[in-house]
Symmetry: C2
Subunit: 169 residues, 2 copies
DNA sequence: TAAAAATGTTAGTCATAGGAAACTTTATTT
DNA sequence: AAATAAAGTTTCCTATGACTAACATTTTTA
């Protein structure tokens, strides 16, 4: 009987996730970006998407084909990419998740690494943890005095050198 | 001139990280576990480590060889694994990081998925974000009345159905 | 101490998702 | 319309870190 406290490697978790998740982390990133742009523009092309995500078109083609098979985008060779209803629903969730995490990190005081940390955490947390992030955002929103108090509290530690960086080169 | 707002895929970030990071995420998981056990036991063996991380011994052997080359563990074929000073310093940091994140999530109300979320976030955040987590823990610790107030606040939303889960099967 | 069991290693396979190069198709110019 | 440029695709390659199977070594037990 496992105690539910079983450790796994990062890779191990990823492999376990494959079994019950529809999309891999990278596929989610593509879909999220497609959603962002299609909501404005109606469609997107391989090239633009590649540039937005800093990958080569050949990588994008491959992923789009997969998203097509999954019924998340409408797409045929050399054509434009559009979201299906299913793709829209999922894309909307992904963007929402992104925004909750981004606001959460912002509330905590994260700045320079905001985008990267958001994009990495997106793929790391369970729906319930996301909900907790969301509730925390709400908490600060509804209690501005605590929010301000917290901001002042942070200031104290701002320059304090708590060594929380890699100890070796 | 990039605006520092450049998006990347999950994979893209991982590949960028390889350039300036010493260890991959999985290697960090192995080292952290080695540290946990060596601090108690002085050494560890391939088999035990494999069981702890839910991987096969052949996977462990390969990673240990890499950690050996990096000078983080002392190890020779069929022998025991010990941490070098360098390995201890890094392992200590990794465990510390783990514990800060775990406490942070606990403070937010994460329970069932605590271990998995902690292990995933470990590899997702920058040192500065870790520091922000740490400061938040301190904040609640030093302000128990706010901490209690926050716990009550969470209760209100506990059963509220904010749909923050995958919208499709 | 010889046989059996447990432990550890090596070699080869897999999937993901990135890239380069060569090619095809579509769009733009002249 | 033909030539050129841009966009997209395909094929093949790479790395990581899982796995299995076969083999080697060490430890235990009879």
């Amino acid at each position: 009987m496992k105690k539910g406290k079983e450790f796994h490697t990062f890779r191990g978790y990823q492999i376990l996730d494959l079994e019950d998740k529809i999309l891999t982390s990278s596929m989610e990133d593509y879909l999220e970006m497609i959603y962002r742009i299609c909501m404005e523009n109606g469609y997107i092309r391989i090239n633009i998407l590649s540039r937005k995500l800093n990958v080569r078109p050949s990588s994008t083609t491959k992923i789009i084909q997969k998203l097509g098979i999954l019924g998340l985008v409408d797409y045929e060779k050399y054509g434009i990419i559009r979201l299906t209803d299913k793709g829209k629903a999922l894309g909307n969730y992904l963007l929402r998740r992104h925004e909750i995490i981004e606001e959460f990190l912002l509330n905590l005081g994260v700045k320079e690494t905001l985008l990267k940390d958001t994009e990495m955490i997106e793929h790391s947390i369970s729906p319930n943890t996301l909900k907790n992030f969301y509730i925390f955002n709400k908490f600060l929103q509804e209690n501005p005095s605590i929010s301000n108090f917290y901001i002042k509290f942070k200031e104290k530690y701002k320059n304090e050198d708590i060594e929380l960086t890699y100890p070796i080169k």
